[in-house]
Amino acid sequence: MLSDLSLSVPRGETLVIMGRSGAGKSVILKHMVGLLNPDRGAVLFDGRRLDRMRRAELQQARKRMGMLFQSSALFDSMTVAENVSLGLRKHTRLGEKEIAAKVEAKLAAVGLAGIEQKMPAELSGGMRKRVGLARAIAMDPELILYDEPTTGLDPITADAINNLIIETRDKFGVTSVVVTHDVNTVLKVGSTVALLNEGKIIFSGTPAELKSTDNPYVRQFLEGRAEGPIKVHF
């Protein structure tokens, strides 16, 4: 599905990968977190081969990462507090009080203070995304992976999520990888932008370069036209 792909994210920066639905964006993220392994090639995390790690090492690496899923993927048998605190409970020796304080702080950071005891089914899509983000940052990760963070949200909530991504980066100094087809997210949060088409990166640069380029692929994507070098198959 992917070939000839080379991407890197310097510490503390935000890489945005954009492309059409089904272009293989989520597949890239799943490789970055070790859910999928490449047939050929390598995935490096902090200089080490993620795809060659043993299970225990991979678990250690994953504790330093957080991931926000496209569907939020909240555990629907657990309350919001249990969702956010699961990693803390399983990987740290914090007491109940410290965990509760941490959950409260993370929920406040995403603007959802006081909903600890709600069930995911009671929340709106935007709230679920934010709880998902609170869960992703609960362990203070160094790398956060966002899979379509704004898809399916109204433009105002989407912009609030974009702001949260920027705030999270600035407040906690994390490295981020955002996968999206939302042009606003691309321009707002990215320090580097890569455009993926048919499993290959066909453009890579800063948001400013993205806006000024006359690369026909990029222009077609930004302007949202069905006609152009990127073929639409039905």
Partner: protein, 260 residues
């Protein structure tokens, strides 16, 4: 013709693939057993759900099983055999055979299916992937508590079911067949041995493990959305029913060799 062969080949290979996949997953669950104390919270929750939650349904099915057993036995032996043997037959058949098997079939519909549906939904909504990315092993966190609870709660449920079934048989003997209490308990004591109880419990232990593992396997390996969840649920019930009846035969051969 060639197409037919290639299709048969595909099915056979697919079958072997699934068998291998299931074996690997089951071995992983067994491998996690020493870590059960790390998921004690989840395990207790599952034990309550699987064990206590199944009690009302098992009570009803067992009650009627015991009652029909008494009626049928009395009809079959008519006047030729002393009536205390009705009590023996009811108790013995319940403990070594009907109690474990009927309860297992009922539980496979209730618990096995719900495990498959729940894990299947978690798979297709990326909740299992989310656990992985949080460095929480889904085999340990989700499968192990369910397997362990099935294993230990099944003998408890079956014991409970047998008691209810015998109570049902007793009620029929007393009220419908006009047998005396003394005769009933005499018949029970005379022909029910401790070995019968142990073998019934061993059966239920094995059925409990099977039901939860089959549910876990189909749920964990679900793919293709809501349709896949439905398929996983159905397959788990069908597989469980088949396995229970097949295992029951071989266990009977092993445990009661004089019968063979």
């Amino acid at each position: 013709m060639l197409e037919l062969f290639s299709r048969i080949g595909e099915r056979v290979l697919g079958g072997f693939y699934r068998l291998g996949e299931a074996t690997l997953l089951i071995l992983r669950v067994f491998g996690e057993l020493p870590h059960i104390w790390r998921v004690h919270r989840e395990t207790v929750a599952q034990m309550i759900r699987i064990g206590i939650g199944s009690m009302p349904l098992v009570a009803v099915t067992s009650l009627f099983t015991g009652m029909v057993l008494a009626v049928q036995t009395s009809y079959q032996i008519e006047e030729y055999v002393p009536e205390i043997f009705i009590a023996s037959a009811v108790c013995k058949a319940t403990i070594i055979e009907l109690g474990p098997v009927i309860t297992a079939l009922v539980i496979s519909g209730r618990v096995g299916a719900s495990i498959a549906a729940e894990l299947g939904t978690m798979r297709v909504t990326e909740q299992i992937d989310a656990l992985e990315t949080m460095a929480v092993d889904p085999v340990r966190f989700l499968l192990l508590p369910r397997f362990f609870s099935g294993l230990v709660m099944m003998p408890v449920i079956v014991t409970f079911g047998c008691l209810i079934a015998i109570a049902g048989g007793y009620a029929v003997c007393l009220l419908y067949l006009e047998m005396s209490s003394v005769a009933f308990f005499q018949g029970m004591r005379q022909f029910v041995y401790p070995y019968d109880i142990y073998s019934g419990l061993l059966k239920s232990f094995i059925f409990g493990g099977t039901i939860s593992l089959v549910g876990c396997y189909y749920g964990y390996c679900t793919s293709q959305g809501a349709e896949g969840v439905g398929r996983a649920t159905t397959q788990s019930v069908v597989t469980n029913c088949l396995l229970i009846l097949i295992f029951d035969y071989f266990l009977a051969m092993l445990l009661f060799p004089t019968a063979g």
